[in-house]
């Protein structure tokens, strides 16, 4: 049993161990023999021949060293510290087990790489920030830093007096430095010049005073009031330690009462299994403690740190794998490709997020005089559309490039219908009824027979395959032959251009991408999108419409005389504003303008008609203008 276990590749063992002890046992049961025949051991820790492994433990215990060969073997076993009776692993085996599997190592390496990259980014950022010359920026930064330190100190003072002391010393440091330096003491060149000016200039005097005040401020000792703080604590929360009131991030975490420690540490032990969770719960807490938002890199670095300790603490926990799932295994979004709002093809259109009004004209330097120029202009518009590749293909691209690309075809191979088999076979009649299948087959029988009879001569499948073949051939790009016979050499009947020339002037096509339907014998996927039509279609929902259906409705009903009666056509195409040529349009009069008056529109008045209906009782203008 032991041998068998030892012989299993370590990765397999890992896998078994994850599933639990029963599988391990199962691995050692009778099925194992068969397993071993197919799987040769990749490495055996002792380097002994595989035959040895076939001995079962029971047999070993029964065996006694009788022959000299056996004795030798036993001695060998003893030499290499192989336990003969003990079912446990040898120290070497244990060591090898403890070592990481390949997969794990890769994961670890990737993670380390990422961490390193992040760290380098972080460093670069820090360097960049350090290079900033702005004094104001640094002053603000410094201020923020000192404030933060002060706050941390306050917190630390409550929780950990010793740490607080060291912190205090650290905080004292700039003060000491300031005292040692000659800064802000009005002793520099500038300060002395100010001092001369100070007698006469009010501003100079003020600047000097400011300097001194700064010095005083910087050299002042940080005042600590532990007594008063404690008093407040005693009167306030009183007997409860702070950690009790803090939010407990997870239920598994240790009881803060039992810990007697700051909850942040308790949390560490509690939520290590799920570092993401910790991050989420820690982030708001951070935000609460200190207003400064921790940058993303820092969060990520912390995350890695936590992961590392998590791994060290509990190697081989089942959550690990799910959590370390590689990004390329993530479910890709299988959104249906964006359809375009066609003039005649219905589709989904996302409403355009645009402001209602841009310029109404596109003003250019070029004139537009001929129809050809207009066509070119229209195609220009279309060219932008064409620049975008097939949406489906674009979706597929990155996925195929991913690390999964190698193993995918292999997996597909299993599911795939064997194309050769299908093609080679004589086509068989498909047994699917053209009508929906009902339960009573007997009733349909005669109908089916009839259909069969009707299509007796047809070989649908073969036809289809032929058609598909044709489509494939048609889709293939052809070579262009640019050979000019007689150009540069003799020509005439019976003379062929030289092979070199033919080769030189035969332009080979760029090999196409493999067809999408190459593994689907019963499907033809046409990859020819009609770009010309697409150029005429509306890309995004125009402004006044809320939904694409509204827009489609506005376009759908025809207005032309081909589809409407004469009267309907007139009504539909009546212009909104109708003016009579040669007639003066007077401004609307006050009586007409007021909504209360029921006076009909004055003769010669406005020919402004909001609706077609009103055109009927539109009065004639009074007189024709001169």
């Amino acid at each position: 049993m032991l041998r068998l276990a030892a012989l299993l590749p370590v990765a397999n063992l890992e896998a078994h161990r994850e599933k639990g002890a029963p599988t391990f046992l199962w691995a050692c049961s009778g099925a194992v023999g068969r397993m071993f025949q197919s799987r040769q051991p990749e490495r055996s820790p002792w380097g002994a021949p595989c035959m040895l492994s076939m001995f079962s433990l029971a047999a070993l215990s029964v065996l006694k060293a009788q022959t000299p060969l056996e004795q030798e073997i036993f001695s060998l076993l003893h030499k290499t510290k192989q336990p003969v009776t003990d079912p446990l692993l040898t120290p070497l085996e244990e060591a090898s087990l403890r070592a990481m599997s390949l997969e794990e190592a890769q994961l670890r390496r990737a993670e380390l790489q990422k961490a390193r990259a992040l760290q380098s980014y972080y460093e670069a950022k820090a360097r960049r920030e350090k290079k900033i010359k702005s004094k104001k920026y640094h002053r603000v930064l410094q201020k923020g830093r000192s404030r933060k330190a002060l706050k941390e100190f306050e917190v630390l003072k409550k929780l950990d007096p010793e740490a607080a002391l060291t912190k205090l010393e650290e905080m004292e440091r700039p003060r000491i430095e300031e005292r040692m330096s000659l800064k802000h003491q009005n002793k520099g060149k500038w300060a002395r010049s100010r001092a001369i000016m100070a007698k006469y200039n009010l501003e100079a005097r003020r600047a000097m005073q400011e300097q001194l005040a700064k010095n005083k401020e910087l050299t002042q000792k940080v005042r600590v009031e532990p007594e008063s703080d404690e008093e407040i604590d005693m009167t306030g929360e009183g007997l409860l330690p702070d950690s009790v009131n803090q939010v407990q991030p997870s239920m598994e975490g240790a009881n803060p009462w039992m810990l007697g420690k700051p909850s942040s540490e308790a949390k560490d032990s509690g939520t290590q299994e799920d570092p993401k969770d910790t991050r989420e719960s820690a982030a708001p807490e951070d935000a609460g403690n200190e207003e400064e938002v921790v940058s993303e890199e820092e969060i990520l670095l912390q995350d890695f740190e936590q992961r590392r300790c998590a791994r060290q603490q509990q190697a081989g926990s089942p959550e690990r794998h799910s959590e370390w799932a590689r990004p390329d295994v993530e479910i890709r979004n299988s959104q249906p490709r964006e359809s375009r709002l066609g003039i005649w093809s219905p589709g989904q259109v996302e409403p355009a997020v645009q402001e209602p009004e841009g310029p109404l004209l596109s003003e250019q330097l070029g004139r537009l005089q001929t129809l050809e120029e207009m066509d070119a202009l229209g195609q220009e518009e279309g060219a932008e559309e064409q620049a975008q590749p097939w949406p489906t293909r674009a979706l597929q691209g990155p996925e195929e490039e991913g690390s999964f690309g190698e193993e995918r075809p292999a997996r597909k191979q299993k599911k795939m219908i064997n194309l050769q088999a299908v093609l080679a076979e004589e086509s068989h009649v498909i047994q699917c009824p053209s009508l929906p299948v009902s339960e009573e087959k007997e009733e349909d029988e005669d109908q089916r027979l009839m259909i069969k009879e009707a299509f007796a001569g047809d070989d649908v499948v073969a036809d289809f395959l032929q058609e598909k073949h044709k489509a494939e051939q048609a889709g293939k790009p052809e070579a262009v032959d640019l050979v000019l016979p007689g150009w540069g050499e003799w020509g005439g009947t019976g003379l062929r251009p030289s092979a070199r020339k033919r080769k030189r002037f035969l332009i080979k096509p760029v090999p196409e991408l493999p067809r999408e339907d190459r593994h689907l014998p019963h499907v033809i996927i046409s990859q020819q999108r009609n770009i010309l039509a697409a150029a005429h279609q509306v890309n995004e929902l125009p402004f006044p419409f809320d939904h694409c259906q509204q827009f489609e409705r506005s376009v759908r009903a025809p207005v032309g005389p081909t589809w409407n009666t004469q009267r309907g056509f007139q009504k539909l195409t009546a212009p909104r504003i109708l003016t009579q040529p040669g007639h003066i349009i007077q401004p609307i009069s006050a009586e007409e303008a007021s909504p209360r008056s029921a006076v009909p529109i004055r003769a010669g008045g406005p020919d402004l008609l909001p609706t077609a209906q009103q055109s009927r009782h539109r009065p004639r203008p009074r007189k024709k203008a001169r």
Partner: protein, 445 residues
């Protein structure tokens, strides 16, 4: 035996005249006429292309003035007559159908600042730099008579503009103050002032005829009621307003042409923010005139172009320019809403079509129907990219184009700067100011 006779109503097939088209019975079954949308789309596309091919708006140039054309007036009764005043004090009356000058008179010394026709169409008024208001007959003097005004009013100050009441024998001039005159008197009925600055133009409201609007050099637009002796209210803008024009179909709407390249359409009742800011010009807008339908207006600009704006749109639907047209000082939309007249610096008056591709002359009913149909189709499919692209295309001279581009860049930079400033300041300390409110300084009542 019974004989079945085929009987039809002759009304269904007999033509009224020989020239009529044969009546064709039609079957409107949609299955017989498939692809209605693609077919109509193609028709719309072709109509759009043809529209652009036939977009030739320039009709005529009326030359004869010996100095820049400073002001124009429409004849209230005759479509074919237009009056113009030049910078050398000359006034000309033109016949548009013949495209010729029918009368010339030396009205003033110096500029003719303003010109307006009386509502009856028999006489007109001019004001000039020589501090006079002159009342002229439209018809020329008889044989042997001297060219003389009917009345001349000598003022104390220079008048910069004049407008006649739409119904009564009252007119208003502007200069140092807005004066309202009775035609029969030599002194104003009343003088309205608000501040001490010079006033550029004054316009009567064509609907509520006792209302006046004026714009002054101190950047404000003042509204008056003729029945009161004091102004109503004023709005102060960022920059000076050159002219204003009332909408002839909506009593309370007027549009002002501003020095800051924009036009502002105001609702008289709510001057706090304009109803619409019309921006496309790249230089000061000098004049504006409404279409008599009240749906559009035309503006003349210092950038040597005129633009047509829909009232409810912030951008122009059309831009007209020619190589020789210089700064356009004055513009008018004719009373039949078909043509546009503009007078410019280089002494010409130009006649344009209001719809660039419109066919002139009498249209046959079928032509009219086809025009309406194509118009409808263009409207129906105007969101489609190709149609939109073709319909929107306009040629611009390089000067205007590059200036527009420059201004676009400047605007963008300003916007970005504001955005950045907002980003780095306390939230709420820099509120968003809409474009409409940006240019209004104050409203005073």
């Amino acid at each position: 035996m019974r004989v079945k006779v085929l009987s039809r109503n002759p009304d269904d097939y007999v033509r009224e005249t020989k020239q009529d088209l044969q009546r064709v019975p039609r079957n409107y079954d949609p299955s017989l006429h498939p692809f209605e949308v693609p077919r109509e789309y193609m028709r719309a596309l072709n109509a759009t292309k043809l529209e652009r091919v036939f977009a030739k708006p320039f009709l005529a140039s009326l030359d004869g003035h010996r100095d820049g054309v400073n002001c124009m007036a429409k004849h209230p009764q005759s479509l074919s007559t237009v009056l113009s005043g030049a910078c050398d004090g000359e006034v000309r009356i033109w016949n548009l159908t013949k495209r010729e000058c029918i009368r010339t008179l030396q009205a003033h010394e110096g500029f003719v600042r303003g010109i307006c026709a009386r509502f009856c169409g028999t006489s007109f008024f001019t004001v000039g730099d020589d501090k006079t208001v002159k009342h002229w007959k439209i018809d020329g003097p008889g044989y042997g008579e001297e060219e003389e005004p009917m009345h001349t009013i000598l003022g104390k100050t220079v008048y910069t503009g004049i407008d006649h009441h739409w119904k009564e024998a009252v007119f208003a001039t502007c200069g140092h103050q807005v004066d309202i005159w009775d035609e029969q008197r030599t002194s104003p009925i009343c003088s309205l002032t608000w501040g001490v600055d010079s006033i550029n133009s004054v316009k009567f409201n064509p609907i509520e005829t006792y209302l006046l609007g004026s714009c002054a050099s101190d950047r404000n637009i003042v509204l008056y009621d003729m029945r009161q002796s004091t102004p109503l209210k004023k709005v102060i803008l960022d920059m000076r307003t050159n002219t204003l024009c009332w909408n002839p179909m909506e009593a309370f709407i007027f549009t002002s042409a501003n020095e800051d390249h924009n036009l502002y359409t105001f609702d008289m009742r709510f001057l706090e923010s304009p109803v619409m800011v019309h921006m496309d010009h790249v230089s000061a807008v000098l004049d504006v005139d409404y279409s008599p339908t009240g749906k559009e207006f035309v503006s003349a600009s210092f950038d040597k172009s005129i633009r047509i704006f829909p009232v409810d749109k912030g951008h122009s639907r059309e831009v007209y320019h020619t190589k020789r047209m210089q700064h356009v000082i004055t513009v008018k939309w004719t009373s039949d809403s078909k043509y546009i007249l503009c007078g410019s610096d280089e002494m010409n008056i130009r006649l344009w079509k209001a719809n660039a591709s419109e066919k002139l002359g009498v249209l046959a009913p079928r032509e009219k129907a086809a025009m309406n149909y194509s118009q409808k189709l263009k409207e129906k499919f105007h969101h489609h990219p190709q149609i939109k692209r073709i319909a929107r295309h306009r040629h611009l001279p390089k000067a205007i184009y590059s200036q527009a581009k420059e201004q676009r860049i400047m605007r963008e930079a300003r916007r970005r700067k504001e955005l950045n400033r907002r980003k780095h300041s306390k939230p709420g300390s820099l509120p968003f100011v809409p474009e409409k409110k940006k240019h209004i300084v104050a409203v005073v009542k």
